[in-house]
Symmetry: C2
Subunit: 384 residues, 2 copies
DNA sequence: TGCCTTAATTTCCAACGGAAATGTAAAGTC
DNA sequence: GACTTTACATTTCCGTTGGAAATTAAGGCA
């Protein structure tokens, strides 16, 4: 029912196809270092089990020799559900083996009680399951639930969730009981990072950071093909890097946190102070800034500067190949893009400045997709 | 001549013994997950080749059963030379397989010309070789040269060394020609981190950071048993984290760098400003601070605060199990220890504050030892 | 049609490591 | 003191894995 039990070479072949799309067997051998014979031997049972399939010939005609046959992952072979829990709603997606969304659905949460949330998850999963109940892949192979906070994926416990005020909740087990689907849980940012690592802007990179800017500011760090978890479950806390000066106080009690300057909430609040309008919304602030209001523009510039410092910190410490910037805040990205890049270029040390900065708008459905990716990982990346 | 060619299980057995001292075969099996039979089979040729040896019985008497036989790495099996290049001298050590120093020696550098330095290295190596030329291990198995700056260990090139003003120097090849010893080069901080990872305060940890405070401020990061190199060769640049406010300008041109506040040079300069004594030395500043001079104490406190912010940044991003603080600055560590810990505790987010802070005075000989460790790695950690 | 080239498969085989039986060396027991 | 128990260590046997190399396949080209 999964790749577990397949020899390492077969897993390698499958992962290579996942990350690098259709390839010929010969090309797989070159990329993985496996001998041609080993590739054929690994691929045969994978094809027999429907995990991969032949998909024709390469388009680019080459001069001579026997033409290659491309093989690719058969995405329909397995389906997964990913669910992201926020403070007031659930976002769920039904996705295939490559975490491509097939359907998505939201559900409001009227209570943050554990039992209620678990039931709501079970209902949402059932609805998604009904949405597309055709074809061979009848069953859902796995469910990945993601949530912000301190999550221990090994034991399946949510150690602490600030938004829901949960502590030591054995969520994986509870959801698995309620849905009868093998369930994994993971921190939401790490799950999103896993999705990008396998199927997104991080595929094939030796290291990258995924920074999310929104109500909170966080990051997932992928180094050498693994997403860093932190020895104590905490890592990638970009939002609490102390680079922001002493003017504003963060929810964590400190001054200087990036989050205290550049989160959507912080920007709104500063725009209110700048304009004197205590009712100003984020949207209005964006409009004012676009219209050229110098005070509001200054707020965005300052936020951009602080984010630039945070990204430079990441680059100086980790030296990632790429930093992906995403989040709700990206909607108004044009307002601080220049400042981010300028400050980043100034403060990234030496060759760390060669780090590639890309922007990707990742809506909440993408976050739920992260859950599906984590669940799918159980199939193709056994026992790490 | 090395462990290359040995099966993976043998390498694993050897590495386990390197990191965790004498163990019984049964215990090795438990720790590595190998079957008892595999451990015996791996250990036999290692013993025959003199890499490991039986060292008697465990002291703690257990109730019953056949007593275990401990095996341990035979450190004398191979010898390495490590050399650290600074702006004005070479520090060299002769070390055994566990990077334990057998002899050490320094040599002044009167020129920073590449050819001159290479010759000086060759002379230093020859002197160390003569120092202890007895016993079976006649030859030096490897040489590790370390230097601060951008070093590409793969190609053996020093891409850029600020202190020596070198660019794209194929140092490994030059030194290897001059000494006829297999040579590897590595960034000095990363080499020190490798030494700590295998033989020091980082042995067996899932992740740790080694922060060095001195003329410069840097760090090596070890995650999952690998020292992070950065996609562009830059990583661990703690010294240029922008957490230090806007008062002082760094050599890199920016304000806010940790190095601009907390390097020995920066502390001396600030102490001079504080006292009005333009000739004040670091030693005098330390003395004044110990005597209670409030202005000078303030300088140390501020430096400690800035270092604390830097360590908190490392903890928030990586979440290491431990942070090792070292460097010349550690001599006066008592002056800012409290402030470092206080600021770290304040700004480390959530469980990141559980990170263990330890102080280790690592003199320059230890840095040279790092070179030996990197060279030794070639023997016991093949082809990563 | 034969030849060349590259892809893919097949065959053969060495080695790696697990399972389990066997051997070994102590303590405990009556 | 013989016997049992216990845990360490070794040996034997065997399934699996993946590489080497020979073989087959499928096209272009002269």
């Amino acid at each position: 029912m999964s790749l577990t039990g397949q020899p390492p070479a077969a897993v390698l072949v499958f992962q290579t196809l996942l990350q690098h799309g259709p390839l010929s067997r010969a090309e797989i051998g070159r990329r993985t270092g496996l001998s041609p014979g080993a590739v054929t031997k690994s691929a045969t049972p994978l094809i027999a089990d429907g995990w991969i399939t032949e998909v024709g010939r390469p388009t680019a005609e080459r001069a001579n020799g026997r033409p290659a046959t491309l093989v690719a992952v058969r995405a329909a072979r397995a389906r997964f559900v990913g669910v992201k829990i926020t403070g007031d709603e659930l976002i769920g997606v039904l996705a295939d083996l490559t975490a491509r969304p097939l359907a998505s659905r939201r559900a409001a949460l009227d209570s943050r009680d554990v039992g209620t949330v678990v039931l709501a998850i079970a209902r949402l999963v059932q609805q998604l399951r009904d949405t597309a109940d055709v074809g061979e892949a009848d069953a859902i192979h796995g469910l990945g639930v993601t949530i912000s906070g301190d999550v221990d994926g090994q034991t399946g416990h949510v150690q602490y969730s600030p938004f829901l005020n949960w502590r030591r909740v054995p969520l994986a087990q509870l959801v698995e009981s309620a849905t009868a689907i093998p369930t994994v849980i993971e921190n939401d940012v790490r799950a999103l990072t896993v999705a990008e690592q396998w199927f997104g802007a991080g595929a094939g990179l030796s290291s990258f950071a995924l920074v999310t800017v929104g109500a909170g500011i966080g990051a997932g760090l992928s180094v050498g093909g693994r997403v860093i978890s932190g020895a104590h479950g905490v890592a990638g806390e970009v939002g609490h890097l102390p680079v922001g000066g002493t003017e504003r106080t963060c929810t964590c009690g400190n001054t200087g946190c990036v989050e205290a300057v550049a989160s959507t909430h912080a920007i709104t609040e500063q725009a209110r102070q700048a304009t004197g309008d205590a009712e100003l919304t984020m949207e209005e602030a964006v409009r004012l800034a676009h219209a050229g209001d110098p005070a509001v523009r200054g707020v965005f510039t300052h936020a951009g500067h602080t984010l630039g410092l945070a990204l430079a910190s990441v680059a100086n410490l980790i030296g990632p190949e790429r930093i992906i910037i995403s989040g709700e805040g990206v909607a108004s990205y044009d307002l601080f893009a220049d400042q981010i890049r300028q400050t980043f270029a100034d403060h990234a040390f030496g060759a760390a400045a060669d780090c590639d900065l890309v922007v990707r708008s990742l809506p909440f459905e993408e976050w739920a997709r992260g859950g599906a990716a984590v669940a799918a990982q159980r199939v193709f990346a056994p026992a790490k």
